[in-house]
Amino acid sequence: MSNVVRAEAAGTRIEAGQLPATARKPRGGWGWRGTPYVFLAVPLVLLVVFTYLPVVNMFWYSLTSWDGLDKTKEFVGLDNYVAVFTRPELFRVFYVSLYYFAASFVQMALALYFATILSFSTRFRNLFKGILFFPYLINGVAIALIFVFFFKPDGTLDSILALFGAENLQQQWLGNPDINNISLASTSVWRYMGLNFVLFLGAIQSIPGQLYEAAELDGASRFQQFRYIIAPSIKPIIGLSFILAISGSLAVFEIPFIMTGGANGTATFVIQTVDMAFESLKVGLGSAMAVILLVIVLVVTWVQRKVVPEEKVNLT
């Protein structure tokens, strides 16, 4: 074997790292080296075809007055963007997002609470884990149907209230424009809490058990264990959930779209975008709105990362 081949093999061992030296059979030097990229190509192609190309297309549509069907797409420059920014009623819907933003804090608090409790050895903990995660697995359409029935007059919620003699609390949970966004945001909490819960639980379970033992020996209460061990070690996950909460509440779509169709003051920015593109048939303007939402989400995330910088967790 020539020195050249050996040198190359040695060089790549450091690069690839994961293979034991004996398992390598350098055939011409490139075969196994390229293999990861061949495997990578498939997801990359899918990503490009189904994510980046559509986004590029969307940018292009946002510069046209296309109606979604015409054979020709007339270029109108930045007219659509000007239109969006000169129509304040298009931005008014962002205040609906505040409901979901507030709800996401409730959601994170609940998820954290349950994750902490179930990370200790609670009776039936696996059953409870399943129950809490289950709503996330249900199809959004089914959830919407369940909750329309839950909220409708004389529906489940009203019946439960009647059962406890609280008839005076009964009202139009979806029909009353003062509270329908709260009803919808609660549905959203019910649905997505399981996801947050699993994220938190995973993070909590990665904390070494000796830390709890040591803490218990030192006489720490459960709350103190949470305050000084769990909370600091899952900080990055909480940070991540926070970013997801902001971008998620700006881009709420599914639940209000299926439950109310965005009627009666429940329209979010995404519902408005979809209506613009597919009901008013202004795909160009709708695309411009989508681009603006993308930019807003990126900016918010960037600001959030600047304000709350990522910290390395060190428990020892």
Binding site: Y37, Q172, N180
Partner: protein
């Protein structure tokens, strides 16, 4: 770490390229015969349909079998789409949208030649068919309706009779009074159900435009008007009635939780008094009444409560129009299917609608209208060069006469949920419409 060796990079590129090629290959290919040598239609035919219910219960397979008795060499396949309008519109950006399909409502007339095969001179086709004008452009017909619809109000006869109403209301005020009587007679009954939540049933109110003034040119004139919501216009009368019934609490308690499928059995069981729907709905309601054991006779059909010189008018027009995909490789068979479907299949009668044929029979479902002497009114198509004007203004202004949004807004305001007044909404609609006109004509 990016591949250093050039060959590695080449390999990666090749892999990506082949994946793309494979993906592309899936959508290509497929051959088709135009027709047999003697001119009889043959080959594969893909028919897109919005009637997924008839696809599931096998009705369409029967149609295909009977079609094959006449044209044995054509292999008909169906594809049902639940969100027909949305999905087909998107698919029309490709060449692959079946051989025969229903013309999507949002395609404007000036776009017809880009997507559909002309079926013939409209004057000539009109010797045989009716309701064609809506889907014509430049003197050519691009679609033939499978069935004709008229517009009205389905109601539960028992509920109305129990409330002591035996004569059809002839004015909007009469109608409101009738609904009030129903409510007084039994407060548990919803006199008029809007089906607000599903949205599209509210667009059925739009079908009555033209009837109020008995003016077949109403829509064309609306495209020339800067204030279509002024006292006396069709839209003013129709939307005022909607406002009044909601405002007076004669509709469902919480409109945001309505349910279309449920509404059929509620009407059949007398929990609902009436609903504003096209004649296509009569048969579905009758079926629901049969299922509920109250009998199809419970369901009646009323014209819009408005008369011109003592006569009711009801708008008629085509339902979906069948058309041929311009890119179809089997246009001969596609044409054979359309002609067969409209003349031989019996679809229109089976669905209780008006036949698309000029000489077609009047269906049993409309015997109520016949007894009342209702005059049918077919809207005049737009003059040449302005075929798409109305649709363009409608879209540009974002009023959306055929979208649920603007009538949901009226319902919300009328029940006091949004704080807007009727005049505010109508003024707003007028100014939006005027702005849309200015933008389109400008």
């Amino acid at each position: 770490m990016f591949p250093h060796a050039r060959r590695t990079r080449l390999l990666a590129v090749a892999a990506i390229a082949s994946t793309v090629a494979l993906t592309a290959a899936c959508s290509g290919g497929g051959e088709s015969a135009e027709a047999n040598e003697d001119g009889t239609p043959s080959g594969d035919l893909l028919v897109l349909t919005w009637r997924t219910d008839l696809l599931e219960d096998g009705t369409f397979d029967e149609y295909a079998e009977r079609f094959n008795e006449e044209y044995p060499d054509v292999d008909v396949e169906f594809e049902g789409l639940t969100d027909y309008e949305g999905e087909v519109r998107t698919r029309m950006n490709t060449d692959d949208y079946g051989d025969v399909l229903g013309v999507v409502g949002t395609v404007t007339p000036d776009q017809f030649p880009d997507f559909f095969e002309p079926l013939g001179d409209v004057e000539e086709l009109e010797t045989e068919y009716r309701f064609l004008r809506d889907k014509t452009f430049d003197g050519q017909a691009y679609g033939i309706p499978v069935v004709g619809n008229t517009q009205g109000i389905v109601y539960n006869k028992t509920v109305w009779e129990d409330a002591g109403i035996t004569e059809p209301p002839t004015t909007p005020e009469d109608f409101v009074d009738a609904l009030k009587a129903i409510k007084e007679n039994d407060p548990e009954v919803v006199p008029l159900y809007t089906n607000y939540k599903d949205g599209w049933p509210l667009t059925q109110w739009e079908g009555h435009r033209g009837e109020i003034t008995a003016n077949p040119d109403y829509v064309n004139e609306m495209a020339q008007s800067d204030a279509p919501w002024t006292e006396g216009t069709d839209h003013y009368v129709i939307d005022s009635l909607l406002w009044d019934v909601v405002n007076q609490g004669l509709t469902e308690e919480d409109p945001t939780t309505t349910n279309w499928e449920e509404s059929k059995s509620l009407l059949a069981n007398g929990r609902i008094g009436s609903m504003v729907l096209g004649s296509w709905a009569i048969q579905q309601m009758q079926a629901a009444a049969e299922d509920a054991g109250t009998g199809a006779d419970t369901i009646g059909y009323l014209p819009f409560p408005h008369q011109v010189d003592g006569t009711f008018y009801a708008a008629v027009g085509g339902d979906y129009n069948l058309a041929i995909n311009k890119n179809s490789e089997n246009k001969v068979a596609a044409r054979a299917w359309i002609d067969w479907f409209n003349t031989e299949s019996g679809y229109a009668e089976a669905n209780g609608g008006l036949s698309p044929l000029k000489e077609g029979p009047t269906p049993d479902t409309l015997k109520d209208f016949e007894a009342l002497g209702v005059e049918y009114l077919e809207l005049t198509p737009a003059p040449a060069g302005k075929e798409s004007l109305f649709a363009d203004i409608d879209a540009e202004s974002e009023v959306g006469t055929n979208t649920p949004d603007y009538r949901q807004r009226i319902v919300d305001a009328a029940r006091g949920a949004s704080g807007e007044t009727k005049d505010q909404i109508f003024d707003d609609l007028n100014s939006e419409w005027a702005a849309g006109r200015a933008a389109v004509e400008g």
